[in-house]
Symmetry: C2
């Protein structure tokens, strides 16, 4: 096996390094982040840096760069305090990828990429109608990362729109049935196949598989 | 589709909610985090909250709860300033899951779960020999999350141990060839199948697939 040191990483061509580092840490949570501004213009941006923070209260984090294509998303979240997370299904992954193009401000990715807005009465941010798992998020904390100037947005799941047959008896959400895909790097999309669920690990024995209902 | 509100989430049985919220946001990066303390005792903990922060400098973040099974990992990272991330292959996912059991302090998961330590001369933390992608991490920032008391650990990738044939010409790391698996929730392990890589999205046209070499 080859060993790359810091100096080797620094010496890499910039585009090569971007692709390399982005695809190094494995598969990631892929979500369409949908927002609205105070004038009613909607926006979708594709994020792969969503991570679990807590189950109670139900908190998720994501990394936002306040520049470039994510600027609109950050501005809208900051302005309204709300956004939605919408899973990407294999049937529309190309359209989801297309939301990452740099459209002119005011051109909604909903219209440009062919997605339908879904609004719930008491919730300001739009959901993506086509998604099979839709999460309504309320902003709780914005944490600046000193080392590179990006921000970590932490929000609480305050609304969940989902078919009941995706939820197993023990609360497990069947992402396979939801047709959720995953991403590696910036541009490689994958579907998945369950190997097994394993029971809670205990020191004295190997965990047994759990049946997925 | 059913809509769950905050009150419904609060009212859920605690174990149900933990499983439900953990598996709601889709597939995640799964890594074995390996550390060492100042007395030379090693440790492995399984993490699914690894996220990309930056390609240059190459930074990854992860969420750590300074209590329970992750206490040892956090203490060792804080003490030494270094840790490693090691991908999980399908061939040893049961052993990787087993590292999440609560072993007595001082009982190394390397020995208890059947993994081999791999040391590089100039790097204090152990790598997991069996992993096909091994990342040496240097601690850069610890960010406390006010809302629930967990911590976000941000570290720089300072060493990468990988076979060259896993890296495509443009820098893309082939996770399928690396046999990397992914996880949904706390206990559901998945292998993956590439749908496509898509070219950089531009407003005027749909992105074309890229060949993976």
């Amino acid at each position: 096996m080859k060993v790359y040191q810091s100096a080797d990483i620094v010496a890499m061509d910039q585009r090569f390094r971007t692709t390399f580092i982005n695809s190094l840490s494995g598969f990631k949570s892929l979500q369409m982040v949908a927002t609205i501004n105070k004038n009613g213009s909607t926006n979708i941006a594709l994020f792969n840096s969503i991570f679990h923070i807590c189950a109670n209260p139900p908190l998720l984090g994501m990394v936002v760069r306040p520049d470039g294509t994510e600027h609109e998303t950050f501005k809208n979240i900051f302005e309204t305090g709300f956004y939605t997370l919408n899973n990407v299904k294999e049937g529309f992954y190309k359209e989801a990828h297309q939301t990452s193009a740099r459209y002119i401000a005011g051109e909604s990715e909903f219209k440009q990429c062919g997605f339908k807005e879904h609004f719930e009465n008491d919730f300001i941010a739009p959901f993506v109608a086509e998604a099979s798992i839709k999460l309504g998020m309320q902003l709780r904390e914005i944490i600046p990362v000193a080392i590179n100037g990006c921000r970590i947005v932490i929000a609480e799941i305050v609304k969940i729109i989902i078919e009941d047959d995706l939820i197993a008896k023990d609360g497990y959400v069947n992402q396979t049935k939801a047709e959720t895909i995953t991403v590696a790097g910036l541009d490689a999309y994958f579907n998945t196949q369950l190997i097994n669920r394993l029971a809670y690990a205990k020191p004295e024995k190997q965990a047994e598989p759990i049946n997925v209902i």
